[in-house]
Amino acid sequence: MSFFDVVFYLFAAITVIASTGVIVARNPVHAALCLVLAFCSGAGIWMLLEAEFLAIALVLVYVGAVMVLFLFVVMMLDINLVQLREGFWRWFPFGAALAGLMVFEMIWVLGSRQTADATIAVVHGADYSNTKELGRLIYTQYVYPFEIAAVILLVAMVAAIALTLRRRAGVKSQNIAEQVKVKKADRLRILSMKSEPKQ
């Protein structure tokens, strides 16, 4: 067993354990943190495959941005776990049967070990830049799907704004600009009164 294999199995084991932790952890914050660990070890496996760009993107985007956001959501929402776990045992046989089917199928497909490209990947030298190659492909051969992906992101943005930005009537919120612009005459009314005679 080479050093490469040892590192691979180490990362793979951490990924599997962390992923199991995501679904069995009672505390949603622990589950989210386990997911972070799974992403990090997944990035390690990608690094072994010389996909440095993907590994770094996974850490930066998923661990750095998405999971932090997710943790915020988990902490802010009051999730009732008892309610979530209510139907667990009732649905367990069904879920287990489905999972068993998937495992069986994967063993069947992967066990035959005959894919079109079963050759071992080319190992490149240290001066080979994975990021540069990806960039070159994205902007030449894959420019059309890349542009469509960009449009999908634009749609997501438009949809998110269309669904959340709306003015509701009767909401009590501060309008800072109005507050700053306020004049004495708007708030204060000076009445001239006759002074009362001394008693």
Binding site: A116, Y144, A162
Partner: protein
């Protein structure tokens, strides 16, 4: 890589995207009461797209962007029909949306993005573009279903649509990845060649095919992957239901054709068997469930399931006739469903949805012309001559009998007979029952004209279906069998 050789075939899509972005910006500047300008710009964009698509038409099949994009006669015809359909959707729904405060720039921009997604799917020659086009379409539709924020039923529909749609995309992607593993390519032509030369791992190919078919069936909404259809059709605002139920069917047809016929033609023996099961189950469950519905939108949802099952019969028979008749059926179905949903919106008012069967009682006394149009549309959906629905069913059945599946044709006819009941029930309600309310029906001049064209078009095409049928046959022949 020659830049112009890539851009010219895709000019219509590029124009559509540029105009959509422009409209997005213009709409922000416009005042709230001048949304008519946005609307006019959208219609002009659709007109411009049609002109460009006709102008850049070539007689042979053109590939662009490293074989990811294909421009052939079928894609041109389907795109032009989709512009027409989208334009009709917007005309029908303008008044309806205005009364519900949904006549906003976002609605129209999302509709254009959905159209762009459909066009990407129609012209895709690569699994990556097929999938991205599908996601672009679906994402826009999910958002449009949820646009009516204060309606609980619309939010529920959007949630169901989103979750089940994501599941279907997952199935589709899983299948695509298996096919990639088996053939080593994502391009449809290369996959077809690889399968023809023989693939070492047959079981991987079979699993991939099953997953892809399940994903396709989800998107088409055929049994047993139909659960989302009635809830989404019922819950969404009628304008959005009309959009979901009409134009995307063209893209779904193109999607199915590209994957099954262009990519997996050599596996026809495998997938046609699966399609037979899907088609029979859809016709059975769709027709039988539609009878029990009291809500017209739900009834039309089950009717969609049936029609999609019927359309699949064309794929089962195969050949120019089979695929051509399936394309004809899809186009005709789009027209009929536009008319039927348009009628629901015509009868609706502010705060009132005319979406139950009772709202159609005695329509003849309230508005004889609208009742007549609805009768034509319903006769066409039931497949009764002289409307075009008859000819569409006839051509599909004809092709399937020619390939020797006579029993399948008999089953299809039996279920169509059962289906005729609930279409004819609406005609009975309109002509022989007394109306429940006598509120006058206010029809705008544009929608009134459009519903007349739509209803009479169904009749006219039924009397002379030759032109459209030959366009479908020729485009299928040019696009699928000559390369």
């Amino acid at each position: 890589m020659n830049l112009m050789a890539n851009i010219i075939p895709a000019a219509a899509e590029i124009f559509l995207l540029a105009m959509t972005c422009l409209i997005l910006i213009v709409d922000v500047i416009l005042a709230k009461h001048s949304k008519f300008i946005t609307y006019a710009l959208v219609q002009l964009t659709l007109l411009g797209c049609s002109i460009i698509t006709v102008g850049t038409h070539e007689n042979n099949v053109v590939y662009a962007f490293n074989n990811m994009y294909v421009d052939d006669l079928m894609s041109d015809v389907l795109k032009i029909i989709s512009y027409l359909g989208m334009s009709m959707v917007l005309i029908y729904s303008r008044q309806y949306l205005k009364l519900r405060g949904l006549f906003t720039g976002e609605f129209m921009v999302l509709a254009l993005f959905a159209l762009l997604g459909m066009n990407v799917m129609i012209s895709a020659n690569h699994f990556l573009t097929l999938y991205l086009g599908l996601e672009l379409l679906s994402l826009s539709l999910y958002a449009m279903v949820a646009l009516q924020r204060d309606s609980a039923i619309a939010t529920e529909a959007a949630m169901k649509y989103f979750v089940l749609g994501a599941l279907a995309s997952g199935l589709l992607l899983y299948g695509m990845s298996m096919l990639y593993g088996a053939t080593g390519s994502l391009e449809l032509g290369a996959i077809s060649n690889a399968i023809m030369q023989g693939v070492p791992n047959k079981s991987l190919l079979a699993f991939g095919l099953v997953f892809i078919l399940a994903g396709l069936a989800f998107k088409l909404g055929v049994v047993p992957f139909h659960m989302w259809v009635p809830d989404v059709y019922h819950g969404a605002p009628t304008a959005v239901t009309m959009l979901i139920g009409s134009v995307p069917k063209l893209a779904a047809f193109a999607f199915t054709t590209r994957i099954l016929v262009e990519g997996l033609q050599s596996l026809e023996h495998d997938w046609s068997g699966m399609l037979i099961v899907l088609a029979i189950a859809s016709m059975a469950i769709g027709n039988l469930s539609a009878i029990a519905q009291t809500n017209l939108k739900r009834m039309l949802a089950y009717s969609t399931i049936t029609h999609m099952g019927f359309m699949l019969l064309g794929f089962i028979s195969g050949g120019i006739e089979g695929y051509g008749s399936a394309m004809f059926y899809t186009v005709v179905y789009m027209m009929m469903s536009l008319g039927a949903f348009g009628m629901i919106m015509l009868l609706s008012r502010a705060g009132f949805e005319a979406d139950t069967l009772n709202d159609f009682k005695g329509l003849n006394q309230r508005s004889p012309w609208l009742a007549f149009m609805m009768m034509l549309l319903m006769l066409s959906m039931a497949g009764i001559p002289p409307t075009v629905g008859f000819y569409a069913k006839f051509s599909v059945l004809n092709s399937i009998i020619q390939t020797g599946h006579t029993w399948l044709a008999i089953v299809a006819v039996m279920f169509s007979l059962i289906g005729a009941f609930y279409y004819l029930r609406i005609i009975k309600l309109m002509y022989f029952d007394t109306p429940e309310s006598h509120t006058p029906i206010l029809v705008g001049s544009d929608t009134g004209l459009l519903i007349s064209i739509n209803g009479l078009g169904v009749l006219f095409l039924g009397l002379m279906p030759g032109t459209l049928m030959s366009i479908c046959a020729v485009s299928v022949q040019q696009s699928l069998l000559l390369h």
